[in-house]
């Protein structure tokens, strides 16, 4: 059936759920899984398909491949920075939340950091599941107000001359950071380069990748 689009109505439903569902997350999810399957709202095979996709197939290795290719293929890099959605589609990685992907590039003078302060928007198709900290109140609250403080906690000590650009993804645009290629990786294969790219570097909470791997 159709949604009511009535804020007050869903707020009241939430208050009922707050009062009546088990408080412990594991108990809650167990009770709801039985009910939703019994009710026919979910197919158990679909549940497995969702979980497996992000356990086995989709994850930050995709983003790392995109970055490594950008490091080694200037034409691809130009396409990536111009239209990242199309560029990742080219590599067969189009999927959830990749439709309006934007790639932003770190340089000696610029460091990029991605956050979603209003919920937790994330480019699932190329980075997989967001790490818990990305979805946490602390990161959402602090990344826009004190990005350098947050970066320091992640071990990234930025000199004052390096400008920070924080991308707060308030629309369906999603962001990935293209980190700098580490020195000493001349002649590395794309696969070897991809192995150096950390997930956090593509969010922006990591900066100096090591030629020896993370």
């Amino acid at each position: 059936m159709e949604p009511s689009y009535d804020s007050a109505k869903v707020a009241e439903i939430h208050r009922h759920l707050h009062s009546h569902l088990p408080s412990e997350p594991a108990l809650r999810v167990k009770a709801l899984e039985s009910l939703l399957v019994e009710k026919g709202l979910v197919d158990p095979a679909a549940l497995d398909a969702w979980i497996e996709a992000y356990t086995e197939e989709i994850g930050p290795k995709r983003g790392a491949m995109v970055v490594a290719r950008a490091w080694t293929d200037p034409d691809f890099k130009a396409r990536l920075l111009a239209d990242a959605g199309a560029a990742v589609d080219e590599m067969g990685f189009a999927g959830q939340a990749s439709g309006h992907l934007q790639a932003v590039e770190n340089t000696d003078a610029v460091h990029n950091l991605v956050v979603c302060t209003l919920c937790s928007c994330y480019p699932f198709a190329i980075l997989g599941m967001a790490p818990p900290w990305y979805k946490a109140n602390e990161y959402r609250a602090r990344a826009v107000r004190d990005p350098r403080g947050v970066l320091a906690e992640f071990g990234v000590a930025l000199e004052p001359e390096i400008a920070v650009r924080v991308w707060d993804s308030t629309a369906e645009l999603r962001y990935m950071v293209v980190p700098q290629r580490p020195a000493g990786t001349e002649g590395f294969s794309v696969e070897a380069l991809a192995a150096l790219v950390t997930r956090n570097a593509m969010i922006g909470t990591d900066r100096d990748l090591a030629a020896g791997g993370a």
């Binding site: 039985s34 549940l47 599941m129 107000r145 992640f154 991308w167």
Partner: protein, 216 residues
């Protein structure tokens, strides 16, 4: 809507906890909650903006304390109850009413297809863009009554248009079931213009729709 979900720039929060950062799910319950939430939403008429707004209407302390996918699951459930796809009584009792089975859930094949299919939110513009790259823009000093995407920290603030993204579906309308294309801009704000204690030259970029700006 103004609420606790609008976390950007709020102070008093401590260090970022990096536990479980290298696992796709931080617990079995987390994985099941995620899958249940997306499988039950599936192809149904639960638009993304209505999902986000329904989550925003959760009990505020639940929003700030319950696990992330647990919140997704509760939100999906609230939407299903709202739309009449399941009743509150069924949820509270834990027993499905046999006479009202929902016939057609998302199947594993639908999942595999969804995982390869990006959703496009760009639409043909119905008017010329009011702003161009390089323009100075000022945001509204207050929020909107319902779902909207202008965070409190960037209200009444002056920034510079970094990019025009074409016309995208306006979330404010989407959360009311309407499809309204509106020009979308990425706007850069000097961090020191947003937060009184900032002394750096850093920049915060936000993607904002045309109606979030004051016409100058």
């Amino acid at each position: 809507m103004d609420g606790v979900f609008d976390l950007g720039g709020k102070q008093g929060f401590g260090p970022v906890d990096r536990a479980h950062e290298d696992e796709p799910y931080h617990s079995e319950a987390d994985a099941r909650a995620y899958a249940l939430s997306v499988a039950a939403r599936g192809e149904r008429a639960y638009p993304i903006d209505w999902f986000r707004h329904t989550r925003e209407n959760m009990v505020p302390t639940d929003y700030l304390t319950r696990p992330y996918f647990d919140q997704w699951l509760q939100t999906t459930l609230a939407m299903a109850i709202d739309a009449g796809d399941i009743s509150l009584d069924e949820v509270i009792s834990g027993k499905a009413d046999a006479l009202s089975r929902t016939p057609d859930p998302m199947r594993a094949d639908d999942v595999r297809k969804a995982l390869k299919t990006p959703v496009n939110f760009e639409r043909e513009a119905t008017s010329a863009p009011a702003f161009a790259v390089g323009d100075t823009v000022r945001t509204d000093h207050q929020g909107k009554p319902g779902h909207s995407r202008l965070p409190a920290y960037a209200r009444g603030a002056t920034g510079t248009v970094h990019a025009h993204r074409g016309a995208h579906l306006l979330p404010d309308a989407g959360a009311q079931g309407a499809h309204v294309p509106e020009h979308l801009y990425t706007v850069g704000f000097a961090a020191r213009d947003l937060f009184p204690e900032v002394e750096t030259n850093d920049t915060i970029y936000l993607d904002l729709w045309e109606s979030y700006f004051v016409r100058r």
